[in-house]
């Protein structure tokens, strides 16, 4: 491995990259010093020689940041090309073997370029709110210990070259931004490979909501796609929630344009006979703020995603569920005694029984904090705002508990995921093999799938029919309702009291 090769590689990368023009410019500026290696040894030897000795010099830091981005782009987008160029097959089986962006110290010292169109942060969401809410450990420790400004951060424990910018929540390891990002990517890669989630040649539909999880998932998978031999598409669902979904969809559109990924948006309105979530909300409670909205929305979104993935000819669906989601779910299922779901859940996804597309969750071992950290260091633009309809009350308890547990023991989230995977339930608790919905043919554990049952209730003006104890009233007759008609609110008689 010699320097001219790597430099040329960078030139290639930057000309083809659309991700970060400012980084490209800087990388070109200093590309004589740029280096990355696939083996640890060469990495260290060269990095030692080209590291600027005055690390507190602002100029040097800028250069470091630039190099990091050059290196990281190589990890993600142009992997196949760089592999061809270097001719060295990179072992994929082990995360340690992945190349790191070595010199990168993307910490708080690096001046953050702002006002760049391609990196614009959604205006409604201040970028700092996102970062601040997750309490990035490096920042926190800086706050707690008022160290003199000259005191440097500890060196990254992985590359030993850059200064550490964060402490990994799961292990307490101090890492620089670049090493963290490559470790994160390596772990997702390992999850996909070890779980055999996405076979080569798969056409993968990424369920994109514009939020942090799906943004990070799409970004990571886009980088890994050449290695995995998969093709990616974004599928977004428009639930028809005024004032909320439009902004999120705008973020998805920007992502799709920047990453040059095909995007398909499927709308509830088209799929479900004119029902938007706003119409459902009006119909269910009249007030427009009912907690059962989330029940409808969740069931229908699942169906819509499946439908959207089919339309674009996808063979697999991936969703951005992270470890926190899994942990919350298992806590919640215990608290409400849902043995059926405990028995069903836990795996990395469903293999696609009964004609449904296989689904998986490649981020399942990444805690929410790490996802947000990744988005922060990769400077991803995402939309983070709560839905206008009330959040789920019961999940709130589980979420609250999880946050406290994580504070008491940082690995608690992963421990819960591990537990969820290992739960052994009695055979009687397992749900029966699902059949097919008599109306739409989708996977269903009853005569009607949940989506059809809910829609059925809505269309008959009795939206509660398919929920909870109301299910037994499915066969009853009722007056038909129409989607946009607020006058068709359920009569008091139709609402069973419990």
């Amino acid at each position: 491995m010699n320097l001219p090769v790597t430099a040329r590689r960078h030139g290639n990368n930057s000309t083809h990259s659309s991700a970060a023009p400012w980084a490209r410019a800087q990388a070109q500026k200093i590309n004589g010093a740029v280096h990355f290696g696939s083996s640890r040894k060469s990495k260290e030897s060269v990095s030692g020689s080209c590291r600027p000795n005055g690390t507190s010099e602002p100029r040097a830091q800028k250069a470091k940041g630039a190099v990091h981005f050059g290196g990281s782009r190589k990890n993600n987008a142009n992997v196949s090309r760089s592999r061809k160029l270097s001719g060295s097959p990179e072992p994929l089986a082990h995360p340690a073997a992945l190349p790191h962006g070595i010199l990168g110290a993307v910490g708080k010292e690096v001046p953050r370029p702002r006002g760049n169109g391609s990196l614009g942060v959604v205006t409604s969401v201040p970028g700092f709110r996102v970062v601040g809410s997750v309490d990035v450990p490096a920042l926190r420790s800086a706050r707690e210990k008022p160290t003199p400004p000259a005191m440097p951060a500890p060196p990254c424990t992985s590359c030993h070259a850059a200064r550490a910018a964060l402490r990994r929540p799961r292990s307490g390891q101090a890492l620089c931004g670049a090493c963290f990002c490559s470790a994160f990517e390596a772990e997702v890669l390992h999850t996909v490979l070890a779980g055999r989630l996405l076979p080569p040649g798969a056409a993968v539909a990424v369920g994109a909501s514009g939020g942090k999880d799906s943004t990070v998932l799409a970004h990571v998978l886009r980088g890994l796609a050449p290695r995995l031999g998969i093709s990616l598409q974004l599928v977004a669902v428009d639930e028809g929630i005024g004032g909320y979904r439009d902004a999120a969809l705008a973020a998805v559109r920007r992502q799709a344009a920047r990453w040059e990924l095909p995007l398909t948006v499927v709308a509830y309105e088209d799929l479900f006979g004119g029902w938007t979530m706003d119409a459902v909300a009006r119909s269910t409670a009249g007030s427009g703020r009912s907690r059962s909205c989330c029940t409808f929305c969740g069931v229908l979104r699942r169906r819509a995603l499946e439908e959207g993935a089919r339309r674009v000819g996808a063979t697999h669906i991936v969703t951005g569920h992270n470890a926190d989601d899994m942990a919350e779910t298992v806590l919640m299922n215990f608290l409400r005694g849902d043995a059926g779901r405990l028995a069903r859940g836990g795996g990395l996804g469903s293999p696609g029984e009964g004609g449904a597309l296989p689904r998986c969750r490649p981020l399942q071992f990444a805690s929410q904090k790490e996802v947000v950290l990744y988005a922060h260091f990769r400077r991803l633009d995402y939309f983070s705002e709560e839905c206008v309809y009330a959040p789920e009350a019961f999940r709130g308890h589980a979420r609250d508990l999880l946050k406290r547990l994580e504070a008491a023991r940082p690995s608690a989230v992963l421990d819960l995921v591990h537990s969820a995977e290992r739960l052994a339930l009695a055979a009687s608790a397992r749900p029966p093999r699902p059949g097919a919905c008599s109306r739409c043919g989708a996977l269903a554990s009853r005569a009607l799938c949940q989506a059809c049952a809910l829609l059925d209730g809505l269309n008959r003006g009795r939206p509660r029919l398919a929920i909870g104890k109301g299910r037994r009233g499915l066969d009853e007759q009722a007056t038909p309702g129409t989607p946009g008609d607020p006058a068709q609110t359920p009569t008091p008689k139709a609402v069973p009291t419990f």
């Binding site: 340690a96 409670a285 907690r291 298992v330 969820a420 052994a424």
Partner: protein
């Protein structure tokens, strides 16, 4: 079932539906005659007699339903001094003194593990400041129905005695320890069972064999039980013919009076020092509590084996089990929930742990103890006076109890869900005795040797440094069928720490991460770890010569 909490309209007002306070005219729901004294569930008022019958029936039904304890069997009652286990001991005492038809027919003994070793806490580890204590205390005492019932509990020590701990490594002076023992002894003497008071320091003189599962051939339970009853009755008949009715049957088979009590030997100062060193080195309260539980379990197991007890009864209540279930879930012990919270726990093979109090809620226990003045002893535990967020255990306890006040069915829901868990691992058949066991908790290892995504999740969380640094990782990863793969035996043999960690289950690995060094662990654990490593290494060496079929036997011997 799935949509609990996704109700319509605005959430119901938070305060629990005000149960109508029993009026003067209301009678006991059972006998409809007597004046009710206690309300168990919403609206169910019991009179004193009916409550007692209800309580006793629950206990005996739990034993009768499971038919696990054979007549004449020696049973060790693990008594911590707390309300639940005290109540359990009293139940057994009453059960033995009843008239013949209903009398319990096993032979009990009591063990009290004195964990109040004189530990010097590292300064500032757990806040013991007065103000802080009161804050956390009062906040965990919101007025839920369950807690309201406990307010009147003697001493009002309820949040602390909850854990059912025998007190622990919590920095008490020898005088306080003597005081506890002075409280414990009269109660033990009043009970009159053979008793064993053991200091936690004795873990330092345990032998490695404690950690071995000595399996016994499990007979078909139903027939075995019947056969045992038959032989017992025959024996009774002979005895009856010989010497008249005599006193309680148990007395006959008891060893000589001089052996009946094993008094606490004052532990050696060196051992106390070692124990306090061990506990002080543990970084988190969570790991401390887990370690204490593990060591105590080993000690009880040792005493049970040494004195020929084949069952151990613990006083875990329904509330406690629900909390324990959620706690263990959060500690990564999902694979062992059924072992940790089920009625019986056969992980040790010859000694089975039984939990007969598992249907009693803490509220019932507290009321029973109060109404029938069951004595209990308060011994501070590691987590006593610790703030709520100090450990996973405390957090989960506070969470469940708080939720219980809002949703009164929380505990029973969790408990009922736990009954649907089974002991076999999730996929595939139950692994027999041949599968490797965790060194500490003695459950079958739940760590994947090979290519599942979990293996990666586990390893990154436990050994981040190894994942990053060991270049030979990949050759183990796609993995041979066994954990003792290509490079493990050879390269890690030198590092005893890694050897021990390798033999732990996921949850214990996470706990041991909070120990900076495993050196201070008691010798029996280290010795057994070394032995197992050596055996695995020898096995790997001999693999070429061995015929495939003999593999298991060598590994097991």
């Amino acid at each position: 079932m799935c949509q609990v909490g996704e109700d319509y309209g605005e959430p119901a007002p938070r305060e629990p539906p005000s149960a109508p306070r029993p009026s003067r005219e209301q009678k006991c729901v059972k006998c409809r005659e007597a004046q009710p004294v206690v309300v168990i569930r919403a609206g169910d008022a019991f009179c004193r007699g009916c409550f007692k019958a209800f309580y006793i029936h629950k206990f005996r039904a739990m034993l009768g339903k499971n038919r696990l304890i054979f007549p004449g069997e020696k049973v060790l009652l693990a008594w911590s001094g707390g309300p639940s286990s005290s109540s359990m001991v009293w139940q057994v005492l009453e059960g033995l003194s009843q008239d013949s038809a209903k009398r319990l027919r096993f032979v009990p003994g009591v063990i009290f593990v004195d964990g109040t070793c004189a530990l010097r806490l590292a300064p500032g580890r757990i806040p013991f400041r007065k103000g802080k204590r009161q804050i956390s205390h009062s906040s965990s005492r919101k007025h839920g129905p369950a807690e309201r019932g406990l307010e009147g509990f003697p001493g009002g020590r309820w949040p602390h005695t909850l854990l059912g701990s025998t007190g622990a490594a919590c920095g008490r002076s020898p005088e306080e320890r003597a005081k506890t023992l002075a409280e414990v002894k009269p109660i033990l003497q009043a009970i009159g069972f053979p008793w064993h008071v053991v200091a936690l320091e004795e873990v330092f003189s345990l032998s490695p064999s404690v950690l071995r599962c000595s399996s016994q051939e499990p007979a078909a339970p139903e027939e075995a039980y019947k056969a045992a009853v038959d032989s017992f009755l025959r024996q009774q008949h002979v005895l009856g013919a010989g010497g008249g009715p005599g006193p309680a049957h148990g007395e006959e088979q008891l060893p000589q009076p001089r052996n009946r009590q094993s008094l606490l030997r004052p532990p050696a100062a060196a051992q106390t020092e070692a124990l306090s060193h061990l506990f002080c080195s543990v970084r988190t309260l969570t790991a401390k509590e887990e370690l204490l539980q593990t060591l105590r379990a080993h000690l009880i197991l040792h005493v049970a084996r040494a004195h020929g007890y084949s069952k151990v009864m613990t006083g875990d209540s329904c509330t406690r089990l629900a909390i324990k279930l959620m706690t263990n879930l959060a500690l990564g012990r999902g694979a062992f929930l059924a072992w940790d919270t089920g009625f019986s726990d056969e992980r040790h093979g010859d000694v089975v742990v039984v939990r007969p109090m598992r249907e009693h809620t803490l509220k019932e226990v507290a009321f029973y103890n109060r109404l029938f003045s069951v004595p209990s002893v308060f011994t501070p535990a590691v987590n006593t006076k610790a703030p709520e967020k100090a450990s996973i255990h405390r957090l989960m306890e506070a969470f469940i109890l708080r939720l219980q006040t809002q949703f009164p069915s929380t505990v029973s829901t969790v408990y009922r869900t736990s009954e649907k868990l089974v002991k076999a691992p999730r996929d595939g058949p139950a692994t027999g005795d041949h599968s490797p066991r965790c060194l500490l908790c003695m459950c079958a290892l739940d760590i994947d040797a090979a290519d599942s995504a979990t293996a990666f999740g586990v390893q990154t969380s436990s050994h981040p440094s190894q994942i990053q640094l060991t270049p030979q990782g990949p050759c183990c990863f796609p993995g041979g069928p066994r954990a003792q793969g290509c490079c493990q035996g050879a390269s890690r043999r030198e590092d005893p720490q890694a050897c021990i960690v390798e033999q732990l289950c996921y949850g214990c690995r996470v706990n041991m991460k909070d120990l900076p060094s495993l050196e201070p662990l008691p010798q029996y654990i280290l010795a057994e770890a070394q032995l197992r490593t050596q055996r695995a290494w020898v096995l790997a060496e001999l693999r070429d010569c061995l015929i495939e079929d003999s593999d298991d036997e060598v590994g097991q011997s």
